[in-house]
Structures are given as C-alpha cells and as structure tokens.
C-alpha cells in the first residue's frame, strides 16, 4: 500500500472473537439463512455455519467480516449493547398498548359472502345493531388505552346501514380524544353511500376500506348479493367517493378463495386499473362460514403460496413499468426482515397483538381480542371473548384469558418457533392455531400459518439476494 511511511499498515485481528447466539434454516438446496439475535440475516452455506460454530471460520473467508459486522461474532464490548438496542427497538411499540379499536355497528348486510359467517340479511335493527349505550361504554375503554395514536374502525355487517351510530361515535370520540391522534376507518361496500355520508366523511377526514376480490366475474362470485352486481356498485361508488375525498382516502382488501387461485395476475391488474397503490394478498381465514364451506372455497396452503408468488411477481412487474403498487404483506415482512422498527399488524408479532394491539366491541356489547374472535363466537365458541363493555377495563385485560393466551403463544417459547431462524420476522396467531389445531400454542409441523410464512419469507429473501430488479422495487416500498 502506498501510504506515507509514517502511517501504520492495517492490523490483523488481535482479539479472539466470541460466538454470539444465532439461528439458521436452509434457504434452498445450496444455501442457508442465518439470523442473529437482533434480526439481521446473512445468506451463506452450511460449511460456513459449521466452521463458525466450531470457531474455525478462516479470517480470509469472504463472509468473515460480514459475520462480525452483523453480530454473529463479537470482538467489541459494544456488540451486546447494539443487539439489545435492536431488540428494544423491535418491541418499542408495546408500551403504547391498544391502538386499534373495532366497533361492530351492525350485523345487517346486503351481501351473503361465502367466507363471512357473521352478517345477516335482515331488517331487524333491534336484534343486530349496536346501541348508543353500548357504544358509550366501549368508547370509555378506547380512551383507557395509553396509545397516542388511536384508530377506530367500523365493522359490519354493512356498516353504512347504521351510519347514525357511526356519526354518534365519531362525534363522541373527537371530544373524548381531543388530545390524541385519532383516525376513523369505515369498512364498507359503499353500496349505501350518499351525498350526506360523503360530505360528513370528507369533513371528518374519515377513511374507507372496501372489499375488492378482483375482476367482476371473480368478485361477484365471491361476494353474492341480490342482482349479482357487487363489483359494478363498488366501482361506481369508488369513483364518487374518490372525487370528493381524494384517492388516498379509500383502500381495498381482498380475500383469496379457491376460485381466486387461478387468477393472480387478473386480481393484481384489477387493482392497478382501479388506481389502488396497495394490494393485500390475504389468505382465507379458517373460521365460521369460511370453515363450513371449506370444501367449496378452501384450499391447501401450498396453493396459496404459489398464488402469492405469481401475484407478487405481477406487482413487481407493474412497479418496474413505472406504476407504483405495494403488496402490503410483503411490505410488512420486509420491514421486519430489513429493519428493527416495530410493525403493528396483529397477526405478525410476538406477543400477539390480540387485545394489546387491537380490541373488538361487538354489536351486542361483548368484547373480543380480535375480529376473528367474534366470528368464532358465531360458531358457538366464545373463547376469545374477554368480557362485556360494561365490565371494568382492568378486568377485561387481566381477568380474562388474554394474558395467558399472549404469554403461552409467544414465538420465543413455542416449540419449533423458539429455535426457528425466522421467529423475529414472523409472529404468533393464537386464534388461528386454536381454531385449526385445538389450542393456542398449536403444532408447527402441521400448521398452515407456519408453512405459509416460512415459504413467503424464504421467497422474499431469495428475491432480495438473487434478483436485482425485484430487490430495487422491494426496497423502494420501505421503510
């Protein structure tokens, strides 16, 4: 090296390195992924991992420095402090406690979707609408949460059939939560939208979340209603709402049925042509009617994973052509893989976000740990009910199943999750495992949840490693 002679040449490593905890899993036939205690990963091979563990990784190994810089090996006193800081950051959302509060304002609905088990085609307001008294009691719980950011989401049935109650709740919440950042979201099909609703929602900065399963033939097959015109009605109302409120105020959610599996590209293209900048490729939830009609609309997880990969590829292609559209589940996982920043998605964290991330106040005053909890209740199983809106807040949280459920289902302790390389990226879904396997701890080798997330995470890591174009697109969705 042509350094002026008064300078010292680089040193060899003088101190021995200490091996730090890490986990690993095969990525494909040739490669392994190793993940450190804070969630940083490295793609390597089995030989390197074996030598690393044996303390025999040669300093000239091309990844020797990477193992050190990513805290698999330590020569510095600071390494532990940095790992601790990564873990602390990952969990930094916990003290905020419950941020998402769902109000089921009515069960009445004009649709009779195969995968929904709660909605009723009925005129009986008294039986299936939430009352203002129930809403008042629920609101008191909402503002017991210390979270500075409160999201109130209105669920149905078809929520707009009880718009009077939505208004009532928004008005009250704005008074009770004057010092908080509150966001309101209405989950709806927009079928009953009118000028009054549009104007009110524009003034109160309300967001809409609509169901959109894909092109008309698919959407209408999944979401039957009298006249079989669900798609046309959504499209028409979408236009009206966006014109008045702005494009960004309406988002869409899709559910993947057996029929959807054959049309991944068409579904993505439909989202693009309707101008959405986000699509969330959601598998069917295994609850309620969805469970009963499983033979008709259900499928194996590997079929979903195949569908997901093709659809994601289509999404990436659109981005490369200059149309920005983000796949929400991928975005969520990337954030967990590539950063230590906390994510708020209830089913992809540990401890689970049930109750402590989200609460659901049902039309009849019962309080559930999650949306799917009330769906299970309709099947006659009230395990995920933690009480009634009239109960004391402390009792809801501490006097119910909630805490044991959260504690026993943490990935840090669950068999197979505890030594899984991806446990910091993944999360726990106690309700899913209870429903499909009989208890909230579950059995990972036969868990669809586990299979799906393992496959998708591996697929994303491969895209990041092997495909420069995809990598650029994926990174552009971050953080």
């Amino acid at each position: 090296m042509n350094l002026n002679r008064t300078f010292l040449q680089p040193e060899k490593n003088s101190q021995p390195a200490t091996l730090l905890p890490f986990r690993f899993v095969p990525l494909d036939e040739l490669r392994y992924v190793a993940v450190n205690a804070g969630g940083e990963h490295i793609v390597t091979d089995r030989n390197a991992i074996e030598s690393l563990i044996d303390g025999k990784l040669p300093v000239e190994h091309p990844q020797a420095d990477d193992f050190e810089a990513r805290h698999f090996l330590s020569r510095e006193k600071t390494t532990i402090a940095m790992l601790a800081s990564q873990i602390r950051t990952r969990l930094s959302g916990l003290p905020d406690f419950t941020g998402l509060h769902m109000f089921v304002v009515t069960l009445r609905c004009d649709h009779s979707c195969q995968y929904c088990q709660v909605s009723r085609v009925s005129e009986d307001r008294a039986a299936f609408d939430m009352t203002p008294e129930t809403a008042d009691a629920a609101l008191a719980h909402v503002f017991k949460s210390p979270s500075p950011h409160i999201k109130i989401e209105f669920q149905g049935g078809e929520t707009l059939l009880n718009f009077e109650l939505i208004k009532y709740i928004i008005e009250k919440a704005m008074i009770l939560g004057a010092n908080r950042d509150i966001q309101f979201v209405i989950a709806t099909n927009l079928g009953f939208i009118d000028e009054e609703i549009i104007n009110y929602c524009r003034d109160k900065q309300v967001f809409f979340s609509v169901s959109l399963d894909g092109p008309a033939f698919l959407h209408d097959a999944n979401r039957p209603r009298p006249g079989n015109d669900s798609h046309a009605r959504v499209k028409n109302a979408l236009h009206r709402v966006r014109n008045s409120l702005g494009v960004e105020r309406v988002s869409a959610l899709m559910t993947t049925t057996k029929l959807s599996l054959s049309y991944p590209k068409e579904i993505v293209d439909e989202y693009v042509s309707l101008g959405f900048d986000t699509i969330f490729l959601r598998p069917l939830s295994d609850y309620g009617f969805a469970s009963r009609s499983r033979g008709k609309i259900g499928y194996q997880s590997n079929a979903f994973v195949d569908f997901f990969k093709v659809a994601l590829d289509r999404v990436i292609k659109w981005n490369l052509k200059g149309t920005r559209i983000v796949e929400a589940y991928t975005h969520l996982l990337l954030r967990r893989i590539l950063t230590s920043y906390p994510t708020g998605y209830v089913d992809l964290q540990s401890p689970s976000g049930m109750g402590i991330g989200a609460l659901l106040y049902n039309y009849n005053g019962k309080v559930y740990t999650a949306d799917e909890g009330r769906m299970l209740a309709e099947m006659g199983d009230d395990t995920f009910c933690i009480g009634h809106v009239n109960d004391d807040y402390g009792n809801l949280i501490h006097g119910s199943n909630l805490v044991p459920m959260l504690r026993e289902s943490m990935v840090e302790a669950v068999p197979m999750c505890s030594d899984c390389a991806f446990n910091l990226y993944c999360g726990t879904d106690p309700l899913y495992h209870y429903r499909s396997q009989g208890d909230w701890v579950g059995h990972r080798p036969t868990s669809d949840f586990c299979f799906r997330n393992m496959e998708i995470i591996k697929h994303l890591i491969c895209l990041l490693e092997d495909d420069r174009e995809s990598r650029e697109v994926l990174m552009s969705w971050m953080p």
Partner: protein, 378 residues
C-alpha cells in the same frame, strides 16, 4: 496583544467602527480607501494597520483577529458566510490517513480563550456555526463552556460540531453534552467501516472504533442529535455498502448520514495513491450504500461530489457542501446548465481532477428517480 473586533460599517464602508470586547473605550476606526484599519489599542494609543491585499474586505458584523506582536490579521467570523466555524484546537487523538487538517501536538489553548471572548460579538442572526479541529473534545471542560456560551449568546443559531466521538465512551461526558440542552446542536461523527480493524487503520488508532461506537450509543441515550460521516476512498469503498447497512441497523436514530468525497489537502494529498478512486467509477457502490440507508428511513446526503461524476439518480442526495472559501468551479463549469445546483469542486482538486468533469448542455427534465430512491420518513 490580540484584539477581537466586530466591524460596524458606516458611511457606505468608508468609516469602520470597531467594537472590541477588551478595548471598549476605543471607538472609531477609519478604513482609508477600504484598506487601512485604525483603532486604539489597550493603552489607548492609536494604531493603524494596512490590510493585506489578499484579505477579503471586512464587512459590517465581521470579526477580525488582530495580533500585533505576530503582525497578523485574519477573520474569525464573516457575517455573510454560511460556513463559519470555531477552530478549537490543532490537537487530535486520531491520525486519519486522509486528514485534511493534519493534527499538531502544540499548546494552543489560547484558541479556545479567543473563541470564548469573541462569541458575545457574533451576530445573533447567524444561521449555523461549526465547531472543528483537531478534536474539540480534547479541550474537556472548556468545550462545555463554548457550547454553553453558544447557547446563551446565539439562541437562534444551529451548531454543528465535528468530533471523532471517542471521548463519549464515557457516559458521563455524553451526559454533560446532553445536559447543556442546546436548542440545535448536532455532532458529526465519522464511522469509516463496519469492521473495527479497518476503521482503526483508517484513523490510525487502535481501539478507536470501539470508543466511537460506544460514544454514539451514549450520546443517543442522552438525546444528542448525531450525524455520521463516511469519507469515500480506496480504503473505505470496498465495505461502503456494508458500512451503510451497519449504520442503518445499529444507529437508526441518527439524524443523517453524509457520504463525503476526499479533499486533497493534508494527509489526503501525501497518501493520494493509497486513497484515490475515481468518483465516476464508484457510482454503483454509492447507489447501494444510499439504498441501504434510505430504504430504512435514514436520511442520507452526498457531500463533495460534483453532479457530473454522480449517477443522476443520486442527484437528489447531493448537497452543496464545500465551504465557500475553498469552493471552485472550473472552466468546464462555465457553460454547465446545472451549475446552480452543483456543489462544484474543492480548490485543492487541482492536485487531481476527477475524471468525467463535463458541462451539461441542458438540465435533465426531472432527475430520474429509480424506484429504490423514494425518500421516506418514519
């Protein structure tokens, strides 16, 4: 005798009154034809100084150092400049192979005394004030006094201090800085590699990496805003992307990361062959480093690179970073359509001009942004 004077211009620059802290009774100085400074010294004797030809004409609000015994005069502060800095010491505990201000082990404590004296004279409208060296933290308690004085005398002024951060391995020292509660202080701290032995080699000091990293963590725990600086050269570029990843994963709290081109003075000049890489050849490495940081929501800036040697998708990150008194635009720049947005070159670049300096006949319509470069905030 050294006097610090704030210049007040009257009569369109013909008369200059100097208000000095140590000579309050003096007060009128006449600038004859703009080149002669008249003032009263401590004993009240009228003195005249002919200003050197190469000295920038003093403006109202500027502060001069007049050293009668050494026969020197120079600016300590120029009100019109956005690049004022307090040069606190020439001493340093590192000896970076590309240092543009090679350290000297001399007794220069007078510098900080001077600074403490002049700060009350500085205009309260000053937007930013730098603190540089040498290594400012070697001054210990005196440095705390300087920052405290900046806080008291210049409550509107942002302060940016360049330090190697090693002193803050002491939690107590980090706390001292945090406890000042300065309204707008940022520490610029270099991290040259993600690997201890490479960083230690670049700064020529065993154990420096560990001290700097502990310093950064300690400062962060006291909420002191931090900028990380990485100088791009032959020794740092091979792991620049990994270094960016390391910073983004371990220090996501930093305010910004500056990727900085070489300034070819001092040791950088004598070590040029061990350091020089053509900027136009490491564009892809810069893109990867920027991408690792920006995708994790860390703000990143590129310093000291003229636009014509950078890939256009990095243009949104390039800032005009070279201090006015050492900043040049060369013949090729005269006709360039993007000259206004470009930071130009160091005057010292005459030692070795980067390849690929060329004028743009027209500005690109909109800087093409690759999808990986959506600037995002958390």
């Amino acid at each position: 005798m050294i006097l610090h004077s704030r210049i007040e211009v009257q009569d369109g620059g013909k008369h200059i009154r100097r208000v000095g802290q140590r000579v309050d009774d003096c007060q009128t100085a006449l600038l004859a034809a703009g080149r002669i400074l008249q003032f009263n010294d401590e004993e009240g004797i009228v003195r005249y100084i002919a200003l050197p030809e190469n000295l920038h004409p003093p403006q109202e609000g500027d502060i001069l150092r007049i050293d009668l015994s050494a026969g020197t005069i120079g600016f300590l502060y120029r009100k019109a400049s956005p690049h004022n800095a307090l040069f606190i010491t020439e001493r340093c505990n590192s000896r970076c192979i590309m240092c543009s201000q090679p350290p000297r082990s001399i007794d220069d404590d007078y510098l900080i005394e001077e600074i403490l004296e002049m700060l009350p004279l500085v205009s309260a409208e000053t937007v930013e004030m730098g603190i540089t060296g040498g290594e400012p933290t070697l001054l210990g308690e005196k440095l705390i006094q300087v920052i405290q004085s900046l806080k008291n005398n210049l409550p509107q002024t942002a302060v940016h201090m360049l330090t190697n951060g090693r002193a803050f391995k002491s939690q107590q020292w980090a706390k001292r800085i945090g406890d000042i509660q300065h309204q707008d202080l940022m520490l610029g701290i270099p991290v040259y590699s993600d690997i201890a032995r490479l960083h230690d080699f670049i700064v020529q000091s065993q154990g420096a990496f560990d001290e700097t990293i502990r310093g950064i963590l300690n400062l962060a725990s006291h909420d002191v805003p931090i900028e990380i600086r990485v100088v791009t050269h032959k020794q740092s570029l091979p792991r620049l992307r990994e270094t960016a990843l390391y910073i983004a994963r371990n220090f996501p709290f930093v305010r910004q990361v500056a990727l900085m081109g070489l300034e070819l003075v001092g040791f950088a000049r004598s070590n040029i062959d061990a350091l020089w890489e053509e900027p136009c050849e490491y564009g892809d490495t810069l893109i990867e480093a920027v991408s690792e940081l920006s995708c994790r929501g860390v703000k990143v800036l590129i310093f000291n690179h003229p636009l014509c040697v950078l890939p256009q998708k990095l243009w949104p990150y390039a800032v005009k970073s070279i201090s006015d008194w050492k900043n040049v635009y060369i013949k090729e720049c005269e006709l360039c359509a993007v000259r206004e947005r470009c930071g130009g070159l160091f005057a010292s670049s005459e030692v070795r001009r980067p390849k690929g300096i060329k004028p743009f006949s027209e500005a690109p319509a909109s800087p093409p942004q690759c999808p990986a470069f959506v600037t995002a905030s958390l």
